[in-house]
Symmetry: C2
Subunit: 420 residues, 2 copies
């Protein structure tokens, strides 16, 4: 810790040091199981919520895949294993990460493409209802897709305004619902504030109005416990390149509750969603189960890295991962209070660690400039306009010392920017 | 060549042997640049048109990507290179493979998802026209997607019946076109017969009717010369895991002719198709160019293997690749005439090598059983119901001797099946 990095608060002595926190962290050893954890060029990686680090086994796993299933078994691998990869990996994601029983999760496409399919399916499942509900602070792709689907289906978008430092609550949502609500799209963890929405309560509220809820789990899956079956959720989608470490642009996942599957309709009638793809017969007949969400050939190569992360998550267990995520953000918030507040940095996330996911949003007018400086210095957070610096702390690959190095670097960059 | 494999024709002596053909093949050395070319477990790979072999540099390329751009540069790679990867690789595909100038090709999604976007865009570009045209022997996903888009847009599908051993000709298409035709979907190389459609003539015919043509290049790109700009084509889509060796489920590509881009509308309004994705502002505004076809985060990891194949294709040149593809199918047809015809095997592809792509379709009632036997014996063609055995000869990775081993193995399996 650099003595000149910022003013030290009186409470600092009472808190354990980063070294103490790392020493007592039951998950500390996982950090070495990622590529680049000891790379001296990366002083602190604070954006595991945008792009998780590669698991260390990934290069060998990919080489084995290229030389084995692809290069040696060749086309025979489709019958031997690949055709089932979207549902096999989906079932495992459901069990390890999503609280979802088998037959309800599939992997493929991008988050946005799967979300489009689910929104169209939700609109089709509530014919006659004319409104869709989404919050103004939801992730851009969510808002854009809702607007697009509403435009083509002749629906009206009803916007919720929630606390930007928090997220959508029951009180925010209730007035927006009614007999005309077709579906509601909500993020479980807000991409800016990290607010954790109440999955069970919000789902129940939407159901009381006879509508469907679509959950976007992109910023929670792999870091915050999700319980789709227990919530009674209808549809869900999420990203695998954040806390599931699938690599840039890795395939997404979608969930459809089992009892909704027989009637689920999505408009992208590709051969892989057909009941019998290789019959190649006339006329589209959707597969009976979750495979009807598929369209094109499953991205099997691109599904390999995330399976290496599922190995680690299964081994560690989501409760322990979540506990470490809360401890890491606690540490970040305490250090920010201690060393960044004097620069005018403001916390734009909930103060209660249980109410936020595994990232923390800080705000300061100079953060665009600060982020550029930090990236040059090997400290890598994310900038979110107009003034947000997002500190994303992937639980298995981040150490408490790394958090402190990051906060100190932010303080130093703020000092440099304000003196320049 | 096994003397007992089948009856030898009188013309056999006049043709060069496989060894002679390999010896004079200017592209023969490329075969060693693929994974598994000398794998003794693969006696003959006859399905390079379904799944191309990995290029030998792919394992190292992927490892370098995981440890470098992903593991070391982390999120910074988006700004440094990844955001432009869909158009950079697209432009290169356009130049090396598609005969398309820059700014018109993008890589991402699956073939079927991109095709959905293009079909919806085509329907939107011809409002008021009520018919869409497709041939009954087109690839299943093409037919299903046309039916789905027609259903949701209130259009009628007009089916063309072409020669199943050939493909759609000007004579087949002309009577199906009229003032009510919105768009026509055609495959450049037919997935069953390998018939090469006349890109320029069919495009001109569709344009005479004031309609748009959508080309599916999945079975030609990388093996048959394509000249999208010269044809005046409107829209095109294609697969990269066949003759572009991108690996199972690798991302697809789409082409939109430059002058159509400003008005092109597709309904999947994801953040990556936005004019300014990281502004994250309210309201969807499509990117001005080909990027408006994007929806979700580009599959950057999954785009790596196909770039290794583009290296080889650029080095060899498409004219030489096409010439070898014709020579390989000529050899396959001659050997089939000589050694398989006596078993009742029928050629279901054009006899003129210039009229077919880089695969050959053979038919025999026992081919389902024969294919299973061949796969066990390390000879890997594809079976297409009800009775088709497809011999796909990826020009850079296939030798003439391999074709002969394959044909002899088919003869031996036919003999075994008929005697069992």
């Amino acid at each position: 810790m650099s003595a000149g990095a910022g003013p030290a608060g009186a409470a600092a002595a009472a808190r354990p040091t980063s070294a103490e926190l790392d020493a007592r962290d039951p998950l500390a050893a996982y950090r070495s199981r990622f590529v680049g954890a000891d790379d001296p060029a990366v002083v602190a990686y604070l954006d595991g919520n945008s792009l998780g680090r590669p698991v260390a086994t990934v290069p060998a796993r990919l080489a084995g895949f290229v030389e084995g299933a692809w290069g040696d078994r060749l086309i025979r691998s489709w019958g031997e294993s690949w055709m089932d990869e979207p549902t096999r990996v989906g079932d495992r994601l459901g069990r390890v990460v999503l609280g979802a029983g088998p037959g309800q999760v599939v992997v493929g496409d991008s988050t946005s493409v799967l979300l489009y399919k689910l929104l169209r399916a939700a609109a089709a499942a509530r014919p006659g209802r004319r409104e869709v509900v989404v919050d103004r602070d939801n992730f851009p792709t969510d808002r854009y897709l809702v607007e697009g689907v509403a435009a083509e289906c002749g629906l009206t978008v009803r916007w919720i305004e929630a606390d930007p430092d928090g997220g959508v609550t029951v009180e925010d949502l209730a007035p927006a619902l009614g007999p005309d609500t077709a579906f509601v799209l909500l993020s479980h963890v807000a991409f800016r504030s990290a607010h954790v929405a109440d999955g069970a309560a919000l789902t129940a509220l939407v159901h009381d109005a006879g509508a469907l809820v679509v959950w976007d789990l992109s910023h929670s899956a792999g870091s915050v416990e999700v319980a789709l079956d227990a919530w009674g959720a209808d549809l869900a989608v999420g990203c695998t390149y954040k806390y599931l470490n699938g690599g840039p642009g890795s395939p997404a996942f979608a969930y459809v509750r089992a009892d909704l599957l027989p009637d689920l309709q999505q408009p992208l009638w590709g051969w892989m969603g057909h009941a019998d793809p290789f019959a190649m017969g006339p006329g589209y007949e959707p597969a009976p189960g979750i495979r009807r969400l598929l369209t094109g050939t499953p991205p099997v190569l691109a599904m390999q890295p995330l399976q290496a992360m599922l190995d680690l998550l299964e081994e560690a267990g989501l409760p322990a991962v979540r506990a470490k995520g809360m401890a890491l953000t606690e540490h970040a918030v305490a250090l920010a209070d201690e060393r960044l507040a004097a620069y005018g940095v403001r916390l734009a996330s909930p103060r209660d660690p249980a109410a936020r996911g595994a990232h923390v949003m800080l705000e300061h007018p100079a953060f665009r400039e600060v982020t550029a400086l930090l990236w040059e210095r090997g400290v890598v957070p994310d900038f979110r306009p107009p003034a947000g610096l997002r500190v994303g702390l992937s639980p298995l690959s981040t150490s408490f010392a790394e958090v402190e190095r990051g906060v100190d670097a932010i303080a130093a960059a703020l000092a440099d920017v304000s003196s320049s």
